[in-house]
């Protein structure tokens, strides 16, 4: 009995600091933000009503969903292609693929967004070269628009899509694929009818991660969108710091959390958490 009690004391003492820290510095202030959304500028549901009626907010929500959907499809497809080589290539191919996945992964989001500015801006690499060879006379608008945002976000999110896909592809039994080939199926057919369906859980996991990340993305859209294609996260920033309307910023945050929470709940009905790493 005594040891049971001291066990519980020990656990409580060890776990308390972090839990206390999170309650005081995260959960409590989040409730404060929720309070803002109901009380600023005047008490009531006014901010949530504005969310449903304000044209600007609506167009930002729709743009965010559209960009997130495009980015999800493109980055999962691209990640799939490079993951196949990373998991099942020859040792040399694997090494190169790993390098190309991990180097961008560890480089900060700012550096990567800046790299795209250097490539895509009016006096950037691509426009300079295209003009030098006489292919175009005026620079193409590749950045400060939705195209730039989609390119930058896809680049950021590909490595995150790679990990769940790699986990699914590693657990796949080689013999099934060899059996399909042995029975006379072509490479293409084996890939589409055996390989892809058997990695479905990885595809769902990767798509969910990328989609959830893109909904709350801030830095890349703010730099590559140049203030023209604003997404939800940047709208929250603008409502807090530029046209002070804390209540609306808070209300958008609450809706974003609820939406992401619902998506995560949906995700964990189909995929176990340990399949995502």
């Amino acid at each position: 009995m005594r040891s049971y009690l001291s066990d519980r004391m020990g656990a409580a003492l060890l776990m308390a600091p972090l839990l206390l820290f999170l309650v005081l510095a995260y959960a409590w202030p989040f409730l404060g933000v929720v309070k803002w959304s109901f009380t600023l500028p005047s008490p009531g549901l006014g901010q949530y009503e504005a969310l449903l009626t304000d044209d600007l907010v609506q167009s930002v929500f729709i743009r965010t969903l559209r960009i997130a959907a495009i980015v999800t499809v493109v980055s999962v497809a691209a990640a799939y292609a490079i993951t196949v080589v990373w998991v099942r290539g020859t040792p040399a191919q694997r090494l190169i693929a790993e390098f190309c996945i991990l180097v961008p992964f560890w480089i900060s989001v700012l550096t990567r967004a800046f790299g795209w500015v250097a490539l895509l801006s009016n006096r950037g690499l691509i426009n300079t070269w295209l003009q030098a060879i006489g292919f175009i006379s005026e620079p193409l608008a590749l950045v400060r628009n939705e195209f730039g945002v989609i390119v930058g976000m896809t680049h950021f999110l590909i490595p995150f899509a790679v990990f769940p896909l790699a986990s699914a592809m590693r657990s796949l039994d080689d013999r099934v694929l060899l059996a399909a080939r042995g029975l006379g199926s072509s490479r293409m057919r084996t890939f589409w009818t055996v390989f892809v369906p058997m990695t479905r859980s990885g595809i769902i996991g990767a798509a969910m991660i990328v989609f959830v990340f893109s909904l709350g993305f801030f830095v890349t859209p703010a730099i590559l969108g140049g203030g023209r294609s604003v997404m939800i996260a940047e709208l929250i920033y603008l409502r807090i710091f530029q046209s002070p309307d804390w209540g609306l910023g808070a209300a958008i945050s609450v809706v974003l959390v609820l939406f992401v929470g619902a998506l995560m709940a949906l995700l964990f009905r189909y995929v176990r958490p340990n399949q995502l790493i």
């Binding site: 020990g10 933000v33 991990l102």
Partner: protein, 269 residues
């Protein structure tokens, strides 16, 4: 035994993806060597003036030192908190463990912008009665960074604890070791590697944190990413290209060393 290898079509598509992933990292190299004061491709001559600017302009050095200080403090704080929490979970396996771990991982799952507005609320509230710990102070930033990195540190610790053999701990317990002795003399020495990794990851995440930092700083606590952000938004400063090249080279070197060490370790069973 024959294995199933990717065919030529897969290899070609993967090569395009690889090129796409490396392109922006390579693009900053020529920009960093431009003699122009604005973002442009060098035409003809190359210049190292933007690298010199990094050394000569005190703002860069100040923000680098500030980022290092914040990184060390926040990483130490989150590593200690995560270590205690994970030890509690592993040694005592309390009820509701799953719910508690889920709660601790929240800052990792919640969209960063929501964490940012939450921490903005917290720090501006603190600013009301404390001038050195609230909004736009380095301690406030370090605290916010701990919040953002502690879930990652906890995951790493729990993973390395899950690989530890429970029987060593049971033996120590059977021989009469106290909780303190079990933790400090049995468990912690066995998960040293996980603890160091967690501290390093927390430092790196704090070093490059920008989403939350933007919300909680204005003019005093200018970390390196915050300074880069300012240079990117207004008038693009090619010094950022020079800095990016240096950061990319460091990353590539660290990854190369790590993969070399892993290879050496794997070579001898």
């Amino acid at each position: 035994m024959p294995t199933y290898r990717p065919g030529p079509v897969s290899l070609i598509i993967a090569a395009f993806v690889a090129l796409f992933l490396l392109m922006p990292l390579l693009a900053v190299i020529p920009v960093s060597l431009t003699p122009s004061r604005m973002l442009a491709m060098p035409s003809g001559e190359l210049s190292l003036r933007h690298y010199r600017a990094l050394i000569e302009d005190p703002r860069w050095l100040q923000s680098i030192l500030l980022s290092i200080r914040i990184g060390i403090v926040s990483s130490a704080f989150s590593t200690v908190l995560a270590l205690c929490f994970s030890l509690g979970v592993w040694m005592f396996q309390p009820r509701f463990t799953a719910a508690l771990v889920g709660f601790v991982l929240l800052p990792m799952v919640v969209p960063p912008v929501v964490s940012a507005i939450t921490l903005y609320f917290l720090l501006t509230s603190i600013s009301g009665f404390s001038s050195f710990f609230g909004y736009d102070t380095w301690l406030g930033v370090a605290m916010a960074h701990s919040m953002m990195t502690v879930p990652f540190a906890t995951v790493l610790m729990l993973v390395s604890l899950s690989q530890l053999d429970r029987r060593i701990d049971l033996a120590a317990r059977g021989l009469g070791a106290t909780v303190w002795e079990r933790a400090t003399r049995i468990i912690i020495p066995n998960i040293k590697f996980g603890i160091v990794t967690a501290a390093l990851l927390s430092f790196v995440l704090s070093w490059e944190e920008i989403g939350v930092t933007l919300f909680i700083t204005s003019v005093n606590a200018i970390t390196l990413p915050r300074l880069m952000w300012m240079g990117l938004r207004d008038n693009i400063d090619p010094a950022i290209a020079a800095l990016s090249v240096i950061l990319i080279i460091i990353t590539v070197l660290v990854l190369a060393v790590r993969s070399f060490v892993a290879r050496q370790r794997g070579g001898q069973p």
